[in-house]
Amino acid sequence: MAKAKITFEDIEQTVNVPAGTRVIEVSEKIGAGIIYGCREGDCGTCMMHVTEGWNNLTEPSVLEEKVLKENMAGRHDRLACQAQIIGDCKVKPA
């Protein structure tokens, strides 16, 4: 299975994950600082900033785009409960 590395910059921790893993599945297990609310892409609580490897996360869905816009997200902000890791990337809480 294809692997990818995700680095949580706030705790300086890198994890090797199977491609397709959602960020939420990793971040809570290792105690990274991204905070979750509804966990289903509606509330915007888990907005994170992607500092490297923006293109190595799955494209945001129409729903995620809408929530990002409503929450006045920056250009490289994503929802950690929605984004799936498909290549190396670095993230931190927005």
């Binding site: 590395k5 994890v15 090797n16 990793v26 290792i30 600082g33 979750y36 816009k69 409503e70 929450n71």
Partner: protein, 426 residues
């Protein structure tokens, strides 16, 4: 400007600035609001009209079952065909209840809401198609001819959608729930009504307190305004010395506890409950471990030795909260849940949380407390320590390390770790 005002005796609009009217409703028999608040003399749902030379604006509406009173007051002053603008500063049903009927009666009116209000509007009106509205933010304004409505983006006071609207020519701020309170008085104005100071502070403590940071952000926008009156959506209109209330909000949003420690110190608070002293021993060891880290001040409390409210104040000021509970009948014990269910009035987002506890045979309490802390949007940097019955010296050493590690995360000393594999994560 004292006078015999009794808005319960009629259903007319009440002018309180040139071309600015109250068209709200009184709800004197209400005794409980939103489940979480008691209302000893009811509340008011304040709605307002602004008449300009080129049209009328309605600012907020009322709870649906008070629509008759609202529409009667509105009709006493304007025709529906004159309404050009409807502003909803906050979409909670006690302010948007009469909106669908108002939009039906004034179909030409343009609705102005904040960006964050759009999804709420759709969920409240269930009219996805054909719903016309304009989203506004700080700096945007709409002209009524000789009156201008300017918008202030003041989110999370107390919903994501909240905003304020200012009529510059009259110095009137329509503040939404900010500066409001549940206090029903037919005399309507702060210089005429009874003593509502308790209601004002009580409302702040339950509605605005979790959003202190957002209150401070909003005050930066509100304080420079040339304020002559504040017109909130609940309680008295603040026409006499309105700036006192702005100052009071700043005071309420500033730390109520003087921590007595340097600004650079991080406060780590440990609460425990213990039936046979085992969880207490763990708490002491965690405290010892935390205290070895420079820049961290550790406080240790037996939860059963205090009352919830002062502990909530303490937690609001803390940087890390650790809770220890034994497991009894597969659950954490009640004093712990009483504390953890009382924290919705303070903002814990991003603070460090951790749990620990001794157990007899199953030990569910620690994970349950961690889940509750995650629900409170706390950051759980380390999985909690569990010990079967009486902790050994080795297990107490593990507790010391745990306390030290949490404290190190607090001061940013946590060491960079090797790359780990997802499959190795518990």
């Amino acid at each position: 400007m004292k006078g015999n005002i009794d808005v319960s005796a009629h259903r007319r609009a009440v002018e309180f600035a040139d071309g600015v009217y109250w068209v709200g409703a009184l709800d004197p028999t209400l005794r409980n609001f939103d489940i979480i608040l008691t209302t000893a003399n009811g509340t008011t749902y304040n709605s307002y009209l602004v008449k300009g030379s080129e049209g009328v604006a309605v600012i907020d509406t009322v709870k649906e079952n008070f629509s008759d009173e609202f529409f009667a007051r509105l009709e006493s002053e304007v025709d529906y065909s004159d309404i050009k603008v409807i502003v909803l500063n906050h979409l909670e049903p006690d302010h948007s209840g009469a909106l669908p009927e108002l939009m039906r009666r004034a179909p030409q009116a343009q609705l102005y809401i904040s960006q964050r209000a759009t999804s709420m509007l759709k969920a409240l009106l269930h009219a996805e198609e054909g719903l016309q509205y304009t989203t506004v933010k700080t700096g945007d304004s709409v002209s009524l001819g000789d009156r201008t409505l300017s918008f202030l983006h003041t989110p999370f006071l107390h919903w994501p959608d909240t905003q304020c609207t200012f009529v510059e020519e009259e110095g009137v701020l329509f503040s939404g729930d900010v500066f409001g309170c549940h206090y029903c008085d037919k005399r309507l104005f702060n210089d005429l009504v009874g003593d509502f100071r308790f209601s004002f502070d009580y409302y702040y403590a339950h509605i605005m307190r979790p959003f202190k940071k957002h209150v401070m952000d909003a005050l930066k926008l509100i304080e420079p305004l040339q304020l002559r009156q504040i017109a909130p959506t609940h309680g008295p209109i603040l026409r006499e010395r309105p700036r006192r209330y702005v100052t009071h909000y700043r005071e309420l949003s500033t730390s109520s506890l003087s921590r007595g420690i340097g600004d650079d110190d991080q406060s780590m608070i440990i609460f425990y409950m213990s039936s046979y002293g085992n969880t207490a021993r763990m708490a002491e060891a965690i405290s010892e471990g935390g205290s070895t880290v420079e820049g961290v001040r550790v406080s240790l409390y037996d939860l059963q030795g205090g009352e919830t409210d002062p502990f909530v104040d303490l937690i609001e000021e803390a940087d890390a909260l650790l809770v220890g509970s034994p497991t009894i009948n597969g659950d954490a014990v009640k004093p712990g849940w009483d504390l953890l269910s009382s924290l919705a009035v303070v903002n814990l987002k991003g603070k460090l949380g951790a749990a620990f506890g001794s157990f007899g045979w199953s030990g569910e309490a620690v994970r349950m407390i961690e889940d509750r802390m995650r629900g409170l949007k706390m950051h759980i940097p380390r999985q909690g320590v569990r010990v079967k019955l009486i902790p050994t010296e080795e297990e107490l050493e593990e507790c010391r390390s745990f306390g030290r590690e949490i404290a190190e995360v607090l001061v940013g000393k946590s060491q960079t770790k090797e790359v780990i594999d997802f499959a190795d994560l518990v």
